[in-house]
């Protein structure tokens, strides 16, 4: 009986497998695997990697990062050129590109997308600040634009927000001129304008769809969503925007990119006819779909890593033979264990902190938890940012050497705790995942070598957040990823006034460091600023408010038919530059 059943099911499959939608499509199509559910497509809520990437396929902002330049370099997107900035760094004036059209939608008269104007950015940034909408990206402009916080506070108390009310620091001077006036110099403001939060949304569309705008993405971007409606499902389909403005593939690249990357120089974007984002949350189906060629690139997960990269930095011969390529680049991030610097135990005992860092074998942790692909962190600034110095070596960076353990024990003795005697049990708080627990147990084992007793406490993520904000942790394991490519985004994690409930979870508060931060935070990019970043980075390396972990690496495997693929920390916008070699794909698919 079961065999009859199975046979009938297989026959049914054979009959129905011919009912595949668009099976005869011959154009260029990108198939992208997305690791998590996409929340929606409203730019003001796009605070996670996956939603912001999807949002950026449809929406655009004033600025973007150059696709082929490293370190990351801003360039105009919907702005005609980089803005004029006054000498005091307080006023930014942008000229908007002319002739840019929104996608067609019933929200516009006659269903035809109208031209983008400066007022659209005024509206979009007010929308991001609207207290009734509670946009997740408000932090990017909180306290930065003159009059904006007052406007938000005023309408927080009133039943309805008035978007027609003028704000001093956010004005359209004419149809194509936009001006921002800041409350204080904030050089990273331009980075904020490259984030998907600050994308242009048309007022007509927002008025028509209200809260449902998250399901009706109508932007000016290179792709438009199929049928104009987003539905939370297992796939999101996009079509090339046929009315896309004149925007071409770059003809310049940094040295690390080979000439191959400039083959499409001058070609109109996007380079593919359609794009499908496949939401595949589990690792096995994502990896198998990649091996079958159903998706074009993936990041190998822990489960597949050893098979794909047996040596850690080279593809297996089997994958190489299939034309698959390996792409590795560092993430702008850092993993760390924050010490609660408000506790006397850590605050007044630098030698204890130094002993702990020395006892922690970062190389072993790199092997165990990051497939040996991470870069051991010497301090807070990750590679790829100004202020990071490749040659700098933290003298307290532990690597499992016997002499380091001996020195750590000596420091612990000098700190007043010989062999850990007299030290209380130190709690280590982490999230409730298996990985987090294993990292905690590893930390426990490392500290036990010098006699420090660690107790690992697992918490659901909201509980851990709450404990950090309320200063109820002694140490906690966490990571930070860059919001924008500037060391300031990392250094602010240790700025005293930012301590919890702000982003400074360790509560480190050093007046000298704070003063330096206040100075550097308002400086425009310059060699002086870089020098100050380096100085602060070295200061933190010696102060050790954290047990530094690693800077993780982005490891991607890409099918041979995908061209122009680059690894980036700022994925939004990348899909417009990617292309598919259709003939090569047909040939390579036969071998999969």
């Amino acid at each position: 009986m079961p065999s009859v059943l199975l046979t009938s099911i297989v026959v049914l499959f054979a009959i129905t497998s011919c009912f595949k939608k668009d099976a005869d499509f011959q154009g260029k199509e990108l198939n992208i695997a997305v690791k998590a559910q996409v929340k929606g497509m409203d730019p003001i809520y796009s605070d996670d990697r996956y939603s912001s990437t999807e949002v950026a396929r449809v929406y655009e902002g004033l600025l973007e990062y150059h696709y082929l330049k490293r370190p990351y370099q801003l360039q105009p997107n919907l702005a005609e050129a980089m803005p004029e900035v006054t000498d005091n760094g307080l006023t930014y004036t942008f000229k908007i590109r002319k002739g840019v059209l929104f996608h067609d939608d019933a929200a516009f008269p006659g269903g035809k997308g109208r031209e983008l104007v400066a007022e659209d950015f005024v509206f979009s940034l007010k929308r991001l600040s609207d207290p009734k909408l509670l946009g997740n990206g408000w932090w990017t402009i909180d306290g930065k634009i003159k009059g904006l916080n007052e406007w938000r506070e005023k309408y927080n108390k009133l039943p309805q927000t008035d978007y027609t009310e003028e704000i001093e620091g956010l004005r359209a001077l004419d149809k194509y001129t936009l001006q921002f006036k800041l409350t204080k110099p904030f050089p990273q403001f331009l980075n904020v304008l490259a984030m998907p939060f600050a994308s242009a949304v048309a007022k007509e569309v927002a008025d028509k769809y209200g809260k449902e705008l998250l399901n009706h993405p109508i932007g000016t971007g290179p792709f438009k969503i199929k049928n104009g409606v987003f539905r939370q499902s297992n796939r999101i389909e996009y079509l090339k925007n046929e009315n896309y403005r004149k925007k071409t593939y770059p003809c310049e690249a940094s040295e690390e990119f080979s000439k191959e990357y400039l083959k499409d120089c001058g070609k109109q974007l996007p380079l593919v006819d359609r794009l499908t984002s496949h939401i595949i949350e589990e690792t096995q189906p994502r990896w198998l779909n990649f091996l079958k060629g159903k998706v074009d690139f993936v990041e190998p997960d822990k489960d597949n890593f050893e098979g794909a990269l047996p040596t850690g930095n080279e593809l297996s011969p089997d994958l190489k033979a299939k034309g698959i390529q390996l792409m590795i680049s560092p993430y702008l991030d850092i993993t760390y264990t924050a010490l609660n610097m408000e506790l006397d135990l850590f605050k007044n005992n630098k030698k204890l902190r130094q002993a702990m860092l020395l006892a922690y074998n970062v190389n072993e942790s790199n092997k165990l938890f990051y497939n040996n692909t991470g870069i051991p962190a010497q301090s807070v600034i990750p590679p790829g940012l100004k202020g990071y110095s490749k040659d700098f070596q933290n003298e307290y960076r532990g690597a499992g050497k016997a002499e380091q353990i001996a020195k750590a024990k000596e420091l612990l003795k000098e700190a007043g705790y010989p062999d850990g005697k007299g030290l209380p049990v130190i709690t280590y708080n982490c999230t409730s995942t298996t990985d987090a627990k294993q990292i905690g147990e590893f930390f426990q084992k490392q500290m036990a070598q010098i006699g420090i007793n660690i107790s690992v406490i697992q918490n659901p993520w909201p509980r851990l957040q709450e404990k950090i904000k309320n200063r109820q942790v002694m140490t906690h394991g966490i990571a930070w990823g860059a919001d924008y490519p500037d060391a300031e985004n990392f250094l602010q994690l240790l700025y005293g006034p930012n301590r919890a409930p702000g982003a400074n979870g360790s509560g480190y508060d050093n007046p000298v460091y704070n003063k330096m931060f206040e100075q550097v935070a308002v400086m425009q990019d310059s060699p002086e600023r870089t020098a100050l970043y380096e100085k602060m980075n070295k200061m933190i390396a010696e102060e050790i408010p954290w047990i530094f972990g690693v800077h993780r690496q982005n490891t991607g495997v890409v099918h041979g038919w995908v061209t122009n693929f680059v690894q980036t920390d700022f994925e939004p916008g990348r899909s417009a530059y990617l292309s598919i070699d259709v003939e090569k794909k047909k040939a390579l698919l036969k071998g999969l």
């Binding site: 009986m1 079961p2 059943l5 199975l6 099911i9 297989v10 049914l12 499959f13 129905t16 497998s17 009912f19 595949k20 939608k21 559910q37 929340k39 929606g40 409203d42 809520y45 605070d47 207290p131 509670l134 997740n136 408000w138 932090w139 909180d142 927080n156 809260k211 998250l214 399901n215 539905r231 939370q232 499902s233 297992n234 796939r235 496949h278 939401i279 595949i280 949350e281 589990e282 096995q284 189906p285 198998l288 779909n289 091996l291 079958k292 159903k294 659901p460 993520w461 909201p462 509980r463 957040q465 709450e466 904000k469 930070w480 409930p501 702000g502 982003a503």
Partner: protein, 313 residues
């Protein structure tokens, strides 16, 4: 008491049950759980934003008002918007119900028919090789975790042999069929062991009843006894078992949906758990309770149709 009065009375019983269920959900999500605003606002949360979000979510209102909101939603189905995705929860549930049903219903029907048929056969050959063989198979199938079936079948049948889609889903008939075949097969295998063991016990219970001995004494064939008498009399536990499983069909299957990328209610729940989306979890808890209440009532009513000896009181 006629059946309509009975149904009406049972429907009235729903109210205290819902009040109790809502209260439990309220205690779990609104009293015991930590402040959700921290997770929702992420690493840039400020006390001002957290306060505004609490107001938006209604978490700054008196606890009894929050409780009545939950209770009200059980009757109006207005669950508001997801705390994580900001999508309308009712719409999310509506969107997820069909994909779940496209594989759970066929899986359920096939597994029930198959296991019932095999149960009748093994009851016929009770104590003999065939019976023992199926008992061993049942225990073996039940001993393997569902995740092992999913991982192996996906890797072997879908990837290695290329017989099925690895994962994915297409809306609309017949496009979804290629994507649900393997999940259906896994559903059947997962259910078969449990179902077969249960139905076999039910059949054997009946087979040793007095009326079966009487039927044999009257000279009826074993086949007639089994199919005409035993099967019919075994229907009460069978109906209870079948009907009570229906809410699970609507709820989907957490692991199967997640691994096969089926955008059903199982995936919805997994995503809600992963993102601490209490809004969706509350709604799903309420709907699950309602489904169980309704299908319990349905099974009670069905008893009277199958067995006239059952009297409604």
């Amino acid at each position: 008491m006629n059946i309509y009065t009975y149904i009406l009375r049972r429907l009235l019983y729903i109210f205290p049950v819902i009040i109790g269920v809502s209260f439990l959900i309220f205690i779990l999500f609104n009293v015991v759980c930590p402040d959700p605003t921290l997770i929702m606002l992420g690493k840039h949360a400020t006390p001002e934003q957290m306060a505004m979000l609490r107001t938006e979510l209604g978490l700054d209102r008196p606890l009894w008002v929050q409780y009545f909101d939950i209770l009200k939603s059980a009757f109006t189905f207005d669950f508001g918007r997801s705390w994580n995705t900001k999508q309308e929860i009712f719409q999310m549930i509506k969107n997820g119900a069909i994909p779940s049903l496209t594989f759970t219903v066929p899986g359920f029907i096939f597994s029930t028919i198959t296991s019932l048929s095999i149960a009748v056969v093994v009851a016929f050959y009770r104590g003999k090789f065939l019976d023992k063989f199926f008992v061993v198979i049942c225990v073996s199938m039940m001993s393997i975790s569902s995740l092992a079936y999913i991982l192996f079948f996906q890797w072997f049948f879908a990837y290695k042999l290329g017989m099925f889609e690895i994962s994915g889903y297409e809306d609309g008939f017949p496009y979804f069929i290629p994507y649900v075949i393997l999940p259906i097969i896994i559903w059947i295998i997962l259910s078969l062991g449990y179902d077969l063991r249960f139905y076999r016990t039910v059949m054997l219970d009946e087979i040793y009843q007095d009326y079966v001995r009487t039927a044999r004494a009257k000279g009826l064939s074993e086949r007639v006894i089994l199919f005409k008498h035993v099967l019919k009399n075994a229907m009460i536990p069978v109906i209870t078992y079948v009907v009570i499983q229906i809410p699970y069909l609507i709820l989907g299957a957490l692991l199967i949906e997640n691994f096969f990328g089926i955008p059903g209610l199982g995936s919805l729940v997994v995503d809600a758990i992963n993102s601490n989306d209490f809004g969706v979890l509350k709604a799903m808890s309420i709907l699950t309770s309602l489904a169980f209440i309704f299908f319990n009532l349905l099974s009670d009513v069905l008893y009277t149709m199958v067995d006239p000896r059952v009297r409604l009181k």
